[in-house]
């Protein structure tokens, strides 16, 4: 019974709106644009922050990364003394040991030496990152062992000439052979391939840091840290801008895995304090993915508030448009109101009738806006690099707000219509 009445009220509302199609459509435009822009903007914001967060999560939220940094020019000269001498900077083996023993809540410390060398097998030659590290590396950085095994304690202890390579490198270096049956050559030394791995979350930043044009991303060779130390020595020659530069770097990166998130929070400042004490210059950077993640989340929240305000304003403008039109409609239909009152309509029937019309306008606009709001981000990411994510809650919020706008801005015109005196209304021309 009630539903029937409601349905016929809605139908009547639509009918009245269809009487002035253009006017109704123009009125809806405000809401359409409002809702569409809310959803689209939130989708772009969500996409951007999602991409950033994914990047950060790859680094591992339980991890803290410390990287060696070449210090700024002036301080470097002061430290090096003369131009000819190798520039000495960065993290040391002592740092790694000290971090392990002094910072509370540390589970693993994985030091890495990263050396750029060409790796050869037979006639193939591939530029690679030769990473000297410890057997605990796979526990800290997500790694799939595809074949064979990773480095072990014995390899480290005996400075074995063994290596583990990434899937991509295996494909490039051994197109027709089984890598595990062969040794590859770095410089003058041969390293037996003992395993093939796939890095699950290859930290993009690391590979991008010194990436050359066209160099594939996953060309990594892992060798025992002790082997790297003895085979390559501490002084590395690097060719940069036509001239050779000698650098003395013990460790390029130390990845610390903490026991839990709480430990990560406290360790941040402890690590900085400790490193400051033993380094005269700032030749390292501490990256806390968790902190970055938190910052990204904060940024996103601010972003959402800004977007929300813009959206609220545009919907407010849409709402005012609706109210304006509905007030005009009430005046225009005063006589109809009088007729309905004479035929038995109560005040609340009139209120309902006009409220339904406004809500039909705003919800109709909301629906169209939702459709456009879902399609727009799709088009945006199709024609640009921007990643977009339309979230269910943004659609629901936008839609609910459009409904609320209809009720809030329809209430005044509807009560104004209901307050009209029946006789006066019937006399209205």
């Amino acid at each position: 019974m009630f539903t029937f009445q409601f349905v016929s009220t809605v139908r009547l509302g639509i009918k009245s709106l269809m009487l002035h199609k253009l006017r109704s459509f123009l009125t809806m435009l405000g809401i359409i644009f409002g809702v569409c822009s809310v959803i689209a903007m939130l989708a772009i914001g969500e996409g951007a922050s999602h991409a950033a967060q994914e990047e950060i999560k790859k680094l591992g939220s339980n991890n803290i990364l410390i990287r060696s940094l070449k210090p700024a020019e002036e301080s470097r000269e002061a430290a090096a003394g003369a131009r000819r001498m190798a520039i000495k900077y960065g993290l040391t083996y002592e740092d790694a040991a000290r971090l392990h023993s002094t910072i509370p809540g540390v589970r693993q410390v994985v030091p890495m030496r990263i050396i750029r060398e060409n790796v050869r097998f037979s006639r193939n030659e591939v530029p690679c990152q030769v990473i000297g590290t410890l057997p605990s590396y796979p526990e800290v950085v997500g790694v799939d062992i595809v074949r064979g095994r990773f480095l072990c304690q014995l390899d480290e202890l005996h400075q074995n000439n063994v290596c583990v390579i990434t899937v991509g490198l295996a494909r490039r270096l051994f197109p027709y052979q089984d890598p595990l049956e062969h040794a590859l050559r770095i410089d003058a030394f041969y390293y037996q391939v003992i395993g093939i791995i796939r890095e699950k979350n290859m930290p993009e930043q690391r590979t991008q840091a010194g990436r050359m044009e066209g160099e594939p991303l996953d060309n990594n060779v892992y060798i025992p840290l002790s082997t790297s130390r003895t085979r390559f020595g501490e002084v590395l020659i690097r060719q940069a801008a036509g001239s050779f530069q000698a650098e003395e770097v013990q460790l390029h990166q130390v990845t610390i895995q903490m026991k839990d998130l709480a430990a990560v929070e406290t360790a941040d400042s402890q690590i900085n304090t400790m490193l400051r004490r033993f380094h005269e210059q700032k030749d390292y950077e501490v990256i806390v993915p968790l902190a970055l993640l938190r910052a990204a989340e904060r940024t996103k929240r601010t972003f959402n508030i800004v977007l929300g305000s813009i959206a609220a304003i545009s919907l407010l403008v849409g709402g005012i448009g609706i109210m304006n039109i509905m007030l005009a409609t009430v005046t225009e239909r005063t006589r109809e109101i009088g007729i309905r009152r004479a035929l038995g309509a109560k005040r609340r029937d009139i209120t309902t009738q006009f409220l339904v019309e406004t809500v039909v306008l705003s919800v109709g606009g909301g629906l169209v806006g939702v459709l456009l709001g879902i399609v727009t981000p799709y088009i945006v990411s199709h024609f640009s690099e921007l990643k977009t994510i339309v979230t269910v809650w943004s659609v629901m919020i936008a839609f609910c707000i459009s409904g609320a706008v209809g009720i809030i801005f329809g209430l005044y015109p509807a009560t104004a219509a209901a307050k009209l005196d029946p006789i006066e209304a019937l006399r209205h021309e």
Partner: protein
């Protein structure tokens, strides 16, 4: 006059006005005294015409009878209920259920078809339109518009529109039908047809109160009430159906 006396007068009495006044205030200190003490009774099945010069309060009286407004002073009993004490919702309820209106300017709703216009009073009684389809059809046939059900008012002539209004006034089977100059906007031939329709309704037992300027229209009624300056000047019984009095 006490309630008991009133009850004993006429068992089929449906309307009783006792010293009804209506004043309109136009801004500060200016008031219009549209009705100045009207006493009137109407029984079931009566056919009453109200005549009088323009501004004598005919429409005001009809609006009061139709519960579109409440008297400023005096009492109005409709079917034994005191209208002067009703709130706005109850007045709406009474209008919808017990009164059928026919207006001079038809007052159909422009965006609705003939059948939908006839159905409007049902909506506000909370009735399921699907159960009333046959009745709507019957009424449309009765007023001779069975083949125009889906036309809009602007596709109909004035006479046809007024006949739709008559069908609409009957849909809730009201206690009485109030018509304010129903033929005022019609030429004499179509006016005649409409009046014949109204006559037939009265023959079938409906109570009719009709406002008119036209003596020939008034002559169809059982009783003519002449108004002047907001009071009933005299009442003339044309057929001895009811008791006539002269005040």
């Amino acid at each position: 006059m006490s309630d008991r006396v009133r009850m004993t007068m006429h068992s089929d009495e449906i309307i009783r006005l006792e010293g009804v006044h209506k004043t309109y205030s136009l801004g500060d200190e200016v008031t219009v005294h549209a009705l100045r003490g009207v006493d009137l009774t109407i029984s079931a099945g009566d056919y009453v015409a109200i005549m009088g010069p323009s501004g004598s309060g005919k429409s005001t009286l009809l609006n009061l009878l139709g519960c579109l407004d409440r008297p400023s002073a005096g009492k109005y009993f409709l079917g034994g209920e005191d209208v002067s004490k009703m709130d706005d919702d109850t007045l709406s309820e009474v209008r919808g259920r017990r009164i059928g209106f026919i207006f001079q300017s038809y007052n159909l709703i422009a965006q609705l078809t003939v059948i939908e216009n006839i159905q409007v009073p049902l909506l506000y009684q909370g009735k399921d339109l699907r159960h009333y389809h046959d009745r709507c059809m019957q009424l449309a046939e009765l007023v001779g518009l069975g083949d125009r059900l889906h036309h809009r008012p602007n596709q109909l002539s004035g006479g046809q529109q007024q006949r739709v209004a008559i069908a609409r006034s009957l849909i809730n089977d009201p206690l009485m039908i109030l018509a304010d100059e129903p033929t005022g906007n019609l030429d004499s031939k179509t006016g005649q047809e409409v009046l014949e329709l109204i006559d037939r309704l009265n023959k079938d037992g409906k109570t009719i109160v009709l406002v008119t300027h036209d003596d020939r229209v008034a002559s169809r009624a059982d009783r003519v009430i002449h108004m002047k300056d907001g009071v009933i000047d005299r009442q003339v019984a044309l057929k001895d159906r009811t008791n006539s009095t002269t005040s």
